[in-house]
Amino acid sequence: MASIGSCSVYLPVWKLSRDEISKETGMPSLGGEKAVAHWDEDSVTMAVEAARNLEGKFDAVIFASTSPPFRIKQCASFIASALDLPENIFTMDITDSMRAATDALITANEFVDSGRFSRVLVVAADRIPTKPGTLYEQLYGDAAAAIVVEKEGGAKILGYSTSTKPLPGSWMLAGDDTVRDYDMRVDARYGYASSVQQAAMPLFAKLGLSPADIDRIVASAPDPRSYEGLLKAVGARPEEFYFSSVGIAGSAHPLLLLATQLEKTGRILLGGYGEGADVLAIEIDEAMESNIGRMLESRKEISYGDYLYNRGFVGIRDAPDRPSLTKFWRDEKSIIRFYGMRCQNCGTVSYPISRCCIECGAKDNYEEVRLGERGKIYTFTVDYLVMPGNYTGDGVHPHCVAVVDLDGGGRVMFEVTDTLREFNGIECDAEVERTFRLLFEKNNFRYYGWKARLPR
């Protein structure tokens, strides 16, 4: 069996109060807040943001999600590129199931246990599209979590087992814009608790453990009450489920729960539910730092109207034509891996990589350097003729751009994101940090790259 070395969580900057949703839609409020992605975030960008905090090298990346932005196109390879991982690593996506993240964890465990890979990045992210005014709108929140699976780590995977049970829970057809359901009560009553217990039983037997040997049980669930019900049924105390602050983060939810559990030592059971269940027993010997606290604290409230804008239900986004996809591919090292160049003649670090130095013109005499994570705003503006994402301006959602001098050299103009109409704190000499986002959508493709935000 393998171990878990470190973890990281990403929550988008916005939180939306469920009372606000209720006020605007008439649906009864489920209380608390849910995490809401900025308009330029999806499961790929949030996965990168979660994984960026993890240090060290990986030889495999597994991406888990039910909301990958592409039907055909691997996301893990793209995430690996944004993380500047070598091209000889193994990448795979596990998608379409709420169990994707625990499946990924099990897969990573097998990879490492077998000796095939030594350090696997498991990253799960979800931004499940929900129709305004539905129960799902209040249930789901947007988030990502990343876990490192390796031979030796602070938390040991003791074992796992699974159960399977196809039930009419939530689903999306290939062409659907938002999630559907038949009757949530079926899943809650007949699916959840029995699937998790059915998976857990053989694990106890295999490990020679009894429920009394388990300190804490966390498991993703179709709704928070089902989780509480499960814990009550087995006579255990429910752990923080993050429904009142995040919502159910789809397939990322089990990893989010795991990351927060890693903050304390003890023996835990981790469950992932979706048409059956995965259950893993994990022995946490060394408590690990999780950034969930910092993520929760550094958020801002969003209005329902702005939330609808972020979701694309409000406003027109019309992007001018952009350079061809082959150019995007050719410039990947600068755009996605974020390399600039250091001129060997004059020493200038500049962006992007180009044949001749922007300061001294020296030809083909440079080394490629990955540019810094943070920097200082040299100058900026708030442009009302352009909308964020390079769309034609609507006069209401201005495009904030900043020219940033990055730590370690290099000057880059960034779109400043995670803000819609408030630009407090964005001024000359203010510190900002890079963040991976969707740049714009055009030519029926999604173009990703780096933007800047006030540090979180």
Partner: protein
């Protein structure tokens, strides 16, 4: 360079010409210029015609098919917002070289057909990963740094708009012929912080044309009633100033270099003393203040002093934009630089009715394009 004579100027009214095509505008400007020069179209040996947007027109055909001027050399020039004056540069050097006796340099832009707020976007010229910024945003970044560095304020910028609209209100061909107050400028909707609507030149349609020849020919044709282009400097810098670490955003190096080049060509050491007035590219109010410095009218950081003290007012010590500038005319890209040279010519010939700078014998015009990446500076004096 050998001096080149300007013997005819034609400028359409600038504005929102919804009812006119680029053809109407170019025909008007061209025929006004040849009539002013007292020549016929057939006397013209070569043409340089500027257009910036391909939607206005591309190639020599933009001129040939408009005035049905066939069988002669015509070049289309494009060089961002400095297209107009680069066009004149090419035409003037062709005359100075002796290759042609009489040429036309024209520029036309039909922007109102694009249906955009602000300038129509240009497709695919910037790198894929870079955010798109509007023209005002590019210059707003200079303003914000100048505010930080020198303590300039939005009020200082507003004074530029007030001055230029004061002049433009008296120019029959200006797009906007109304004066504005500082208060109105400051209260206008924001375009790109800190630039509001009145800090920006408008998107307008227009055309301009000048007839150039050698001074000895001019003398035979019109006596002393002509102006001479004494120098044209030009410099191209990076179109990615935001990626060049040495860029200060407090000075536009293209202007500095084009000005030095032009002053040297014309033998000018102290422009503030040796010239009488100037026309600068006031695409945005902040641009005008930075231009004062880059054109060596004052030291870096002192641009705001000049406007506060009225130095650049039409009755000031060194009037700038006595015509009302782009602020009053709007900025039909390729037409602007040509119109500037036409305005210089009118001033030095004492024909700027209602807007005449006192004792104007020689002045400069400055045309700036792109993200401050292309600049041309022309020096024109009485013959």
């Amino acid at each position: 360079m050998r001096e080149v004579a300007v013997i005819g100027c034609g400028v359409t009214k600038f504005g929102h010409h919804w009812e006119k095509d680029h053809e109407d505008l170019l025909v008007e400007a061209t025929y006004e210029a040849i009539s002013d020069a007292n020549i016929e179209l057939k006397d013209v040996e070569a043409v340089w015609c500027g257009t910036f947007y391909p939607s206005t027109g591309i190639s020599g055909n933009v001129f040939s098919d408009t005035v049905k001027f066939f069988g002669k050399p015509i070049s289309r020039v494009e060089n961002y917002c400095a297209t107009g004056m680069d066009n004149i540069r090419n035409a003037a050097f062709a005359v100075a070289s002796g290759a042609y006796d009489i040429v036309i340099a024209a520029g036309v832009e039909k922007l109102m057909d694009a249906g955009s707020r602000g300038l129509p976007p240009i497709e695919g010229i910037f790198s894929v990963g870079m955010p798109v910024v509007s023209a005002p945003a590019m210059f707003a970044m200079a303003a914000n740094r100048a505010f930080k560095e020198w303590g300039w304020t939005r009020e200082d910028l507003a004074l530029v708009a007030v001055k230029n609209h004061y002049n433009g209100a008296r120019h029959p061909k200006a797009h906007f012929r109304k004066e504005v107050t500082v208060e109105r400028v400051l209260k206008a909707p924001m375009v790109a912080y800190p630039l509001g609507v009145f800090d920006c030149s408008a998107v307008s349609d227009g055309a301009a044309a000048v007839v150039l020849t050698r001074p000895e020919i001019a003398k035979q044709m019109v006596g002393d009633d002509y102006a001479v282009i004494k120098a044209i400097g030009m410099a191209v810098e990076t179109m990615h100033p935001w990626h060049r670490p040495s860029e200060s955003f407090l000075s536009f190096p293209a202007t500095v270099k084009a000005a030095k080049m032009a002053y040297k060509m014309a033998g000018i050491e102290n422009p503030r003393k040796e010239l009488d007035f100037g026309i600068v590219h006031d695409c945005f109010t902040v641009t005008e203040l930075i231009n004062y410095q880059d054109m060596q009218l004052c030291k870096p950081g002192e641009g705001a002093e000049l406007i506060r003290n009225g130095v650049t007012a039409i009755d000031g010590d060194f009037p700038i934009n006595p015509d009302g500038g782009l602020k009053s005319f709007g900025h039909p890209i390729a037409a602007s630089g040509v119109r500037m040279v036409a305005e210089l010519t009118k001033q030095v010939l004492g024909k700027a009715e209602g807007l005449q700078v006192k004792d104007a014998e020689a002045g400069f015009a400055h045309n700036l394009g792109g993200p401050y990446s292309v600049a041309t500076v022309a020096i024109v004096s009485r013959s």
